[in-house]
């Protein structure tokens, strides 16, 4: 598939190897062309005697200590060997680095692969061979788990607060020179390092340009969190809905990059932004892609249900018992009436009271020092206070259930920002239900939907691929198609290269089983 790429500029890993030239200039220009727009690659010119050489490496992928060792070794080589021939330089290097000089090669494709996997490359003028120094950045193996977006299966690594580590985590997953990295510095006082990452040939150049444009327009004294940048580059600044995706998982970012999205990493923040972001994306978890298609699809639908429960369950209940009692089953109606007979407040007030209590407890639990219990206090508090309020006759038992279920269901939404927005969208809907019944809920939802459909994220409609309908994208919206069926990338993001995989990725096992073959052998 990838052989028929329209873009010739793109690096093809399967391209037939190009022999290395002996000229340092040619070699460097070839490498520079390959690693074009990669701000993290370093070409370190070195001059030893009349020999000129160059160290090439990706800054975040290598071990700094090894680099210093190599640098020191090379500089100690120089004075002794003023007039050496090519062969002696090679033997010198061999003698000097008996263990580290892992390999010598003349193949450009291998060299590029080695650079991407964290090797330091030494090119010497006039020598066709290239010296590879293994220098894996071991220190960064101690990644932290992402607490915000947890999965059972799949990579557990989460972003750290150092932009170098974060870049490395992405580079490790996508070892391709087409992964372009652009550094930008933002914040007049803080000078925060920001990098824009995207896949050349997959991401839409216009979106990349737009991201750069918006970043360069930012004039601020400090950037302390990714939200600073997010709020200034999102399309509709006044909308509560996030139109830039925020994740703490490198695998999620890589998935986005492969779909043609642009990622923005901010130094000092353990999360990355990806854009353009679709509404459905906020309902998808990384786990969806690591589970069986059938299971993921079911869980996705559970999540859609969770979205509606979070949004409208309290509103629905209040609307039902204040306006639409006809919809209840007779025994349920009698239960509710029996429970509510001696309650002093209308259902709407009760619901607001319970939700407010939950918000208070939640905020207290979040700000509380960890030693006092944190989230456990919130949940226990909600349950205990709910129970006590029911016994004291302030709140009906069904209302306590409804609010607890809503509060806990809200956590089904995988993205924290989205979770917060949806949670608070429930309150206006609750008020509408209390004042106008189901009619209020419907009108409220209609307004919400109208708003959502009108949003765009970097030119891409927020509700795509549902509206505007792009059927080829539905395989990753309502269902999660098996990986062998995910032949094309998510449409609408404006990618230049739609082919994700080949067409015959599902296994075709032989028709005859092993038992038949045995029989044949016997016969």
């Amino acid at each position: 598939m990838s052989k028929s790429l329209p873009n010739n500029k793109q690096w093809d890993t399967e391209r037939s190897s190009i022999p290395q030239s002996s000229s340092l200039e040619t070699n460097l220009s070839m490498l520079k062309e390959t690693f074009d727009v990669c701000d993290d690659i370093v070409f370190q010119q070195a001059q030893f005697g009349n020999q000129s050489g160059c160290l090439v490496y990706l800054s975040e992928m290598i071990n700094k200590e090894t680099l210093i060792e190599i640098e020191q070794g090379l500089s100690s080589l120089i004075p002794q060997n003023q007039q050496e021939s090519k062969e002696s330089v090679i033997t010198l290097i061999h003698r000097h680095y008996p263990f580290q000089s892992e390999n010598e090669t003349q193949d450009l494709a291998i060299i590029v692969k080695k650079i991407l996997s964290g090797h330091i490359i030494l090119l010497v003028d006039g020598i066709e061979q290239v010296f590879l120094f293994s220098s894996d950045n071991q220190t960064n193996r101690t990644w932290t788990e992402s607490d915000r977006e947890r999965t059972v299966r799949g990579p557990q690594a989460g972003f750290s607060e150092s932009i170098q580590t974060n870049l490395k985590l992405i580079r490790q997953k996508i070892q391709n020179p087409n992964l372009k990295v652009r550094y930008v510095t933002l914040g007049k006082q803080t000078n925060t390092k920001i990098s824009v990452v995207y896949m050349e040939g997959i991401a839409d150049e216009e979106i990349v340009h737009e991201v750069h444009q918006r970043l360069s327009n930012i004039d601020i004294d400090g950037v302390l969190d990714s939200h600073y940048v997010e709020s200034m580059i999102k399309d509709s600044p006044r909308s509560p809905f996030p139109t830039v995706f925020n994740t703490a998982r490198p695998d999620r970012v890589c998935g986005g990059l492969l779909d043609g999205k642009v990622a923005v990493l901010i130094d000092g923040t353990p999360s990355a932004l990806t854009a353009p972001a679709m509404f459905v994306e906020f309902l998808h978890s990384s786990e969806d892609y690591y589970d069986t298609s059938l299971i993921s699809t079911i869980i996705r639908w559970v999540r859609f249900l969770g979205l509606f429960v979070t949004l409208i369950l309290p509103a629905f209940y209040v609307g039902m018992i204040m306006y639409h009692q006809d919809l209840l089953q007779s025994p349920f109606l009698m239960r509710i009436v029996a429970n509510r007979e001696a309650l002093p407040y209308p259902a709407l007030v009760e619901a607001l009271f319970m939700l407010l209590t939950y918000e208070l407890l939640r905020e207290a639990g979040l700000r509380m020092p960890k030693i006092f219990g944190g989230p456990v206090v919130t949940i226990l508090g909600l349950v205990l206070i709910g129970q006590a309020a029911v016994q004291a006759g302030i709140v009906g038992p069904v209302m306590a259930i409804v609010v607890s279920v809503t509060a806990l269901t809200a956590f089904i939404l995988p993205n924290y920002e989205f979770h917060q927005v949806i949670r608070f969208c429930g309150i206006p809907l609750l008020l509408l239900a209390g004042f106008f019944g189901f009619m209020g809920i419907i009108v409220g939802l209609m307004f919400g939907l109208t708003h959502l459909v009108s949003l765009r994220s970097f030119g891409v409609p927020y509700f795509s691929p549902v509206s505007p309908a792009r059927k080829e994208g539905w395989k990753d919206v309502f269902i999660r198609a098996p990986w062998w069926a995910m032949e094309t990338r998510a449409p609408g993001i404006g990618v230049e290269n739609m082919n994700r995989s080949g067409e015959n990725n599902s296994a075709t096992p032989p028709k005859t089983g092993k038992e038949n073959r045995d029989e044949e052998n016997e016969g």
Binding site: M322, Y323, D326, S330, L333, M334, I336, A338, E341
Partner: protein, 430 residues
């Protein structure tokens, strides 16, 4: 520029205040807190001797329904039964609301029970109220009571929370009993206003009257509750000396003509009517299979189907009724009976003749005697011969139906015999 921005902010602020005031200062239109409703589960309509309508409403007292939520823990009557009279149902209901502290709420009325007398006289005018009032569900069951509805309505529910739900379940459950004659308000109205079909509905009566004895364990306890239950009725109702039934049975069918109760089909006739409609399911029939009366074979009619074919022979309408009956052996009390094809064939013929007999009986009564079209014969003619029907319609119920010839063909098929094949045989007898 700055001033404009400030102005805009003030405008926004004002409109926010207005919006909040608008929402909070006005009442919530049509809002009713659920606990401010007095839920009526059952309505009985009667006509008293002075010709006024008597409405008996069974109002649920929810906090007494569920023991754990009872307010003071002591055994209380679970329903408030109020009877009011008026010139019309609407009039009587308005009296009802003057004695109830909460809004009268009809949304959960499970059934409307008409007393026999009210059914004979006030059916159409009453239904008008039930269809006009917005609270009522369109699928509320319409039932006719043997005797006075006000007494039946006061029966204690045994298996459900309220009698209304018990009646509803009684209508829905049809294992070993025929209940398909019951119609809801919408269906009843439809049949009432159509000229091709006459409405029918089920009749409820006290179980004792139908030969079912109800034995309540803890009789003392029961009499206590019964006494209490009767108390409110003595306050509101004059004829308290009449017995409140212990249980209710649904067995017979009320047949209407011109919006009035015309007659009552008994259990066997109801069975016949259901056979004509092809709706009989799970009905037990007993055939004799020996010389002595104990030697019987009980069959369960598992399914039945009927085909009505309207025809014209020599200008006169003519109806061919084909009935297919599927049955299984439920109980065999003939030691000499062997389940083999020959015996089954004989049994099939016996069943066929029984079905024929029953159908003829109900046709005689409903078609010839009362001249009502409860089977929808007219509808079949209308469907097949719409042009001819226009001329038939005026005379349909005035003689034409009565004189219409009916061809009856029945085929019975006993296909299953349960887990046991041949009857259990006594060793000595063999």
């Amino acid at each position: 520029m700055k001033k404009m921005k400030a102005n805009k902010r003030i405008r926004l602020f004002h409109s926010m205040i207005l919006l909040v005031a608008l929402l909070t200062l006005t009442g919530c239109w049509s809002s009713d807190e659920i606990n401010n409703l007095s839920t009526i589960t059952l309505i009985g309509i009667d006509e008293n001797d002075t010709g006024e309508v008597e409405v008996t409403a069974v109002i649920v007292k929810p906090h007494t329904l569920f023991a754990e939520t009872a307010v003071d823990g002591s055994e209380q009557s679970k329903f408030l039964i109020e009877t009011t009279t008026g010139e019309s149902i609407f009039d009587a209901v308005s009296d009802l609301s003057s004695t109830t502290s909460e809004r009268i709420y009809f949304g959960h009325v499970n059934a409307i029970v008409f007393g026999e007398r009210a059914a004979r006289k006030r059916m159409v005018s009453s239904l008008d109220f039930f269809k006009r009032e917005t609270d009522f569900r369109p699928n509320t069951n319409v039932l006719v009571a043997r005797g006075k509805a006000s007494q039946l309505v006061q029966a204690t529910p045994h298996l459900n929370v309220t009698l209304g739900m018990e009646l509803e379940d009684l209508v829905l459950s049809n294992k070993y009993s025929e209940t398909d004659m019951v119609e809801d308000v919408t269906q009843f109205m439809k049949d009432l206003s159509s000229d091709t079909k006459d409405p029918t509905t089920g009749i409820i009566s006290s179980a004792k009257r139908q030969g079912v004895d109800i034995h309540l364990t803890g009789a003392k306890n029961h009499s206590d509750t019964k006494k209490k239950e009767e108390e409110p009725s003595t306050n509101t109702q004059e004829n308290s000396q009449l017995q409140i039934p212990e249980a209710i049975s649904l067995k017979e069918t009320a047949v209407f003509k011109d919006g009035k109760l015309k007659g009552i089909l008994d259990e066997r006739e109801t069975r016949g009517a259901l056979l004509v409609k092809g709706k009989l399911k799970n009905e037990v029939v007993v055939l004799s299979c020996g010389s002595s009366p104990e030697e019987t074979i009980s069959l369960n009619i598992t399914n039945s189907a009927s085909k009505l074919t309207p025809q014209f022979s020599a200008g006169a309408p003519h109806m061919a009724i084909g009935i297919q009956v599927e049955a299984e052996i439920g109980q065999l009390a003939c030691p000499d009976f062997n389940v083999d094809p020959g015996q089954i064939d004989r049994l099939n013929q016996q069943l066929e003749s029984l079905v024929k007999q029953e159908v003829t009986r109900v046709l005689n009564k409903a078609k010839n005697q009362w001249q009502t079209d409860i089977f929808g014969f007219g509808q079949e003619f209308y469907r097949k011969y719409p042009k001819e029907w226009k001329q038939m319609a005026p005379v349909w119920r005035n003689g034409m139906l009565k004189n219409m010839k009916v061809d009856l063909s029945v085929s019975a098929n006993i296909s299953r015999h349960g887990l046991l094949k041949d009857p259990i045989k006594d060793k000595e007898g063999k």
